[in-house]
């Protein structure tokens, strides 16, 4: 389970100089290897992303993603294998169905579906991994802090 310190998020991202904090759930057989390759090739990508190594995107439970949002993370990227290329045949297809359902829930409760994104990559696609990370960082930056982000909660608590 993800261990994020609420205070750490609050102090690292005060409203004035807020930077999006994003978790990337990366499949062992593709996106994690692509991220590794990007590192080996000295490619730069935003430091806003924390990578969580998963055996397959199909093993990411709905609760894992909701838990991250409840703890105040601003965005989540789920990165799985190309369609047809899942090591476990259809884990990435299940993950796409799960993320679709979670996006509906996020919209319904006011967090916003745009904060969760799923992408498909292969292990060789380091440049694509970097691009996808840059894209989600910019998209979440445009959305602003999550309404569950502790810094925003403090901000709204201070208002009359």
């Amino acid at each position: 389970m993800i261990q994020l310190d609420r205070e750490e998020i609050a102090t690292a991202a005060p409203a004035a100089r807020w930077e999006p904090r994003i978790i990337a759930f990366c499949c062992n057989y593709c996106a994690y290897a692509a991220a590794d390759l990007a590192g080996s090739k000295r490619m730069q990508y935003p430091a806003n992303v924390r990578i969580i190594h998963t055996p397959c995107t199909g093993k990411i439970e709905v609760e894992h993603i909701l838990d991250a949002f409840e703890r105040g993370i601003d965005g989540v990227l789920v990165a799985g294998c190309l369609e047809g290329g899942c090591h476990f045949l259809e884990g990435n297809l299940r993950a796409r169905q799960h993320t679709g359902r979670i996006r509906e829930i996020l919209d319904e409760i006011g967090v916003g579906a745009g904060r969760l994104k799923m992408v498909n990559l292969s292990a060789a696609m380091a440049p694509a991994f970097v691009e996808r990370v840059e894209e989600i960082v910019e998209e979440v930056r445009a959305l602003g802090p999550s309404p569950l982000n502790p810094s925003r909660q403090k901000e709204s608590a201070g208002k009359p």
Binding site: L66, I105, G110
Partner: protein, 222 residues
Amino acid sequence: MIVASPKSVTELKNLIAPHSKVLFVGCGTCVTVCLAGGEREVGIASYAVRMARKIEGKPIELTQITIERQCENEFIKDMAEPASKAEAIVSFGCGAGVQALAERFPGKPVYPALNTQFLGILEEQAVWTEKCLGCGDCVLAQFGGICPVTRCAKRLLNGPCGGSTETQCEVGDGRPCAWQLIYNRLKGINQLDRLEAIVPPKDWSPSWHGSPRKIVREEHRV
């Protein structure tokens, strides 16, 4: 089994709007199998409601428990302690489960988290279809094991109606004509002669049209 579907997060949130300490109770039997009210669904709903309430500035304390069966007092005992600490209870069981909890905890509001739908079977992963209406007077022997009371849109006991196209019911939605299914089935088991018998009007008094039903089996009573 009993098949149910979850209420929306918004509806669930509105049901418990006046409360700040609520117990979510899952049921480990039918609604777990139909992916509507088991431990996992209770967990997901808890996350969603907690986040929604936090965003509204009205945080809620939610506890969760999933018991084996909500429709039996023997299992309801397991949740007595967490229930005593909650202002209200949300049942992720079928309608029977909700009412069983309401009877067992007379001082607590009990709200339903699901819409109970029908008695059905799993056709394929995540697809359920209705098969039984619980009419109280089973006629399946006459129709080769296919129930016209449940599966014929007009509930005809002397069908077919003549409105079907090929094998499809005229009501649409891609539903098959129950009477075509009955014909195929009776042909397959060499009992087509059953179709020549006129079935008399059904006695609906054993169904729910009479009044809420009760069964007492004296031989099993203690």
